[in-house]
Symmetry: C2
Subunit: 313 residues, 2 copies
DNA sequence: CCCCAGTATCGCCTGATGCGATCATCATCA
DNA sequence: TGATGATGATCGCATCAGGCGATACTGGGG
């Protein structure tokens, strides 16, 4: 295996013309350069320089020319490699992020924007995967609303209260008793991830709604509710865009079902870029919760007044 | 500066999955591999593998992935380089050869043919330079009919007798006394290289021909002789192609002028390919001389009978 | 609770590596 | 022709990097 140290010596001698000058350039003594070139010559099986003797300068041999071209390729690759590593530490590079609708809509726009300001050359890729087994091994970070693998690292980003979304008039103003959902026509997300958690909570309370339609699309849910197909239990941030829709009403549940917990999950060491993205996500999550709390009491969500805002538990 | 040794360790661990297997593959012990990876991590400023502990295998980090791609580039360049060096020793590569008319016509066809049989991928380039200062520094080998620089290596390829070429009937059969050329109309090559040597020899003998035409082209000389413009003194191999031309007669000179000495000149260490080309040239030169001697006595050259053939002195 | 499959660490030894000093060679110039 | 200077080679020495073997450490699984 060739040694870059020796190839650098060859290159320096070829460029400077003498062993002594090359040594000075590389910070060695002439004697060391002499030995390095000799070692290289042993390795490549022939002289790379003719030493005419006396005060005459060494002249490169055909073999030396060949080795020199190869050496320069290798040395260039070396500096390119170290450069890439430096840029990595400076935060450049690529980060693959798994996400889902709510996060994509309410959290990531801010996060991605800030990260791109800090690292304009960053390569941020989002994957909105519809399966319930997120391949976090192929990603740097994954946003999840259910716990990831045990051996993965979890960082909570925000908590998201579940509310009843109904056609205005379907429920009286104020909180909805959980038992009122029993037997009621409802629309829902597919029973995976957070939705599975919600349905399990309902089942534990012996509440069995009549789910008449399922879709993966948050907007599809509210559209169906608006059309009178049924009510829905949704994380509040999933329907935040419709909070001023007069055709809909929002109600707290009593007793509440557990909040949706949105976390960033990762496995192993993170790149600086991924680390920063996670930090920004947590910050943005806190802002989100604060904004939500500020909007609280405006009457958008019936029965919400005086309640603790989500995310402060 | 990165070390290929450590990059190979990284690559091996990444491929085999464990330090131990990588060590076995590379012929080290596990402890050594552990130290090598640790050294690499110190150099790149971060972990390249997460070691989960216990029986679980190490997992590459984002930094590790980056370094690995760079490492594979470098390692590939390393094998490519060593491969090129091996092929060089096996005789592949390029050889630049300086030549001139006679050598191109009577010697190199054989030599190049044989060399290409031995090394089909050899890149043989011929340069027929018209200046009298051959840039042997830019060539691997140069054929010359005059001595090259003092510090260059000279190997004689063949000697070439000077003969008088005349229109048939211009001279009586048999050798031409040198003095007969005095004042005679003659055609000649430009007074450089061997021609300068010939003219110096004539001048030393106080013979001053009347040179009525000069051209660099050997065929141009014989054409002019045939047309009756005058006689010529030429190395026999330069006019060998016209030896059966009935319009011409060939005569030895008495006393002879010195033979033209064709040599291969080089400076410094030769590549295996250049070395072989020089060897083949010497062999081909000997064959040439032998063929010439065999053709001797056929009467093609008047006055040549019984003379020593050129090249045997 | 022990064992297994992994890695890390310690102490030791050898050889590689760099240095300083000195030598040898040859061109140049007085 | 002899001194000088520029150049690379070589020698001996000190240091330390790199490899090894043994052993400790870790966590999962029987």
């Amino acid at each position: 295996m060739l040694e870059l140290r020796l190839l650098a010596a060859l290159d320096a001698v070829a460029r400077t013309g003498t062993f002594g000058a090359a040594a000075a350039e590389l910070g060695y003594t002439q004697s060391t350069l002499s030995q390095q070139v000799a070692a290289l010559e042993r390795q490549v099986g022939g002289a790379v320089f003719d030493r005419p003797g006396g005060a005459r300068r060494p002249r490169i041999t055909p073999l030396g020319r060949l080795v020199l071209t190869q050496a320069r390729t290798l040395l260039a690759a070396d500096v390119a490699a170290r450069d890439a590593i430096d840029r990595f530490h400076a935060g450049a590079g690529r980060v693959d992020v798994g996400t889902f609708q709510t996060v994509t809509n309410v959290l990531l726009p801010t996060v991605v924007d800030r990260l791109r300001v800090e690292h304009p050359d960053a390569d941020i890729r989002l994957f909105e995967d519809e399966t319930d087994e997120p391949p976090i091994d192929l990603l740097d970070l994954a946003f999840l609303d259910v716990p990831g693998p045990d051996d993965a690292d979890h960082v909570e980003v925000f908590r998201d209260e579940h509310v009843v979304v109904a056609r205005r008039g379907a429920f009286p103003p104020g909180p909805v008793p959980l038992a009122d959902l029993h037997g009621r026509a409802m629309v829902a997300l597919p029973p995976i991830c957070d939705q599975a958690v919600v349905e399990a909570a309902l089942a534990r309370a012996a509440v069995a709604p009549d789910i008449v339609f399922r879709t993966v699309d948050n907007q599809g849910i509210t559209s169906m509710v608006r059309a009178g197909l049924g009510a829905a239990v949704m994380p509040v941030l999933s329907v935040w865009g419709q909070r001023h829709d007069d055709a809909l009403s929002f109600h707290r549940l009593e007793p509440a079902v557990p909040d949706r917990v949105v976390q960033v999950v990762s496995r192993g060491t993170l790149s600086p870029l991924a680390m920063r993205l996670r930090e920004l996500s947590v910050e943005a999550g806190q802002h989100l919760v604060r904004d939500l709390a500020a909007a609280d009491g405006s009457g958008d969500i019936a029965g919400r007044e005086g309640a603790h805002p989500p995310g402060t538990s």
